[in-house]
């Protein structure tokens, strides 16, 4: 597949998988207001993924007009885990509230920078989705940063849970800043932006919050600690379980609607 649709799928898969993970908290949040907050964030992300899947389908259909037209549903429900291109970080299990918050915090800071860069994409569809999504992500950044402070600078228990979460999630962070081959090609034609160029700003913003939260600041991981690359379809075992649940209905009853 050409680079641009693949890159759009990567962005869509990121939003869908994190949206799905966050939605697992619906009905299980620590208090009602925060249950609603995380469910709203999940809704934003799943909405963004829908817009991106629709765009990817449109771009793919334009490239192969002779084939049967793809829809957003084909892309979300009928691809296997090796075809999914989301970051490995995002498919990790929710763990406790601290781990869920930290993942949302790391990713929303990254996503905001990435979509800001994509405002200048030569693909007008991608630029429009970025413009729409940025407003939502700003809220996710604010909410998750406040929670990182509350937990890090909270009780000894909440602080130690944040340390555990950092230990578990930090090894997955380098992948955010390494462009996949299709991404490189899309960067070269002006439709994507280079994630390695976002690292400095991301690190500054994230470390500022972590320092306020009395947590250790993040220092880049040694390369090669984890060799999986979700962007290239190499995932942890967790993604398969997500897809099994998410895709069950369409796999068991193809084309089912209600």
């Amino acid at each position: 597949m050409p680079p641009l649709p693949t890159y759009i799928l990567h962005l869509a898969d990121n939003a869908l998988i994190l949206g799905h993970r966050n939605s697992e908290w619906t009905g299980h949040g620590p208090v009602l207001e925060q249950d609603i907050a995380l469910s709203n964030i999940a809704l934003d992300l799943i909405g963004q993924s829908r817009n991106l899947y629709q765009l990817a389908a449109e771009r793919m259909n334009n490239l192969s007009p002779e084939k049967q037209a793809l829809t957003e549903d084909d892309l979300a429900y009928l691809r296997d885990s090796t075809e999914f291109k989301n970051l490995v970080l995002l498919e990790q299990t929710n763990g406790d509230w601290a781990k869920t918050i930290l993942r949302e915090f790391y990713f929303s800071h990254f996503q905001l920078l990435q979509y800001r860069g994509l405002l200048g994409s030569r693909d007008p569809g991608l630029a429009a989705i970025s413009e729409k999504s940025i407003k939502e992500i700003r809220y996710h950044v604010k909410w998750s940063s406040e929670w990182v402070c509350r937990l890090g600078d909270g009780t000894p228990e909440s602080h130690s849970r944040m340390l555990n979460a950092m230990e578990t999630l930090n090894p997955w962070l380098p992948e955010l800043f390494v462009a996949a081959d299709y991404e490189q090609a899309a960067i070269a034609n002006g439709t994507a932006i280079d994630p390695s160029g976002l690292f400095k700003d991301w690190l500054n913003q994230v470390n500022q919050v972590l320092a306020n939260a009395t947590l250790p600041i993040y220092a880049a991981e040694k390369k090669g600690a984890f060799s999986l690359s979700g962007k290239n379809g190499f995932h942890s075992e967790h993604l398969g379980y997500i897809l099994a649940e998410m895709q069950y209905l369409q796999r068991a009853y193809p084309g089912c609607t209600w």
Binding site: Q34, I36, A37, L43, L45, N51, K132
Partner: protein
Amino acid sequence: MPKCNICKEHIPDAHGDPMKKEDIISILEAVMDPEIPVLSIADLGILRDVEILGNEIIVKITPTYSGCPAMDAIEQDIRKTLLQNGYEKVNVSLVLSPAWTSDWLSAAGKEKLEAFGIAAPSLAQACAIGETGNDSPDHCPHCHSKNIQMISRFGSTSCKALYRCLDCLEPFDYFKCH
């Protein structure tokens, strides 16, 4: 103009009786938001434009938030309302850019919100929030006290946050600047 006087068919422009954009817009002003039933899609700024192509009507709408679950219901309501008024060929298309902003909420819409018990966006321009600043309601929509406190940044729908009034002690929704 439900049917053509001559052929009795629902083809509004068949016999020199062209569809008028302003007629269609005034019909669409009766389509209410399913989540906030006192506001029409025009009040909310969801209704962006109406185009007439031959005998087809293209209604352009934009979502408030990417994941707004009301969009499908709104699309159906638009079709139903136009059909009831004799317009059969309707195409509802979703536009994302320019992105919806609470600045598009009409003045009448803001008054209706307050009367419904939802605090209206406090800033005339949402971009005034800036990167890290917060927006909060100006006053409690029930007793107009300015002594208020945030309960949660996220409320019953994506577009609202939850507050409480420290004087009348009532909780209330705030329609966020966005």
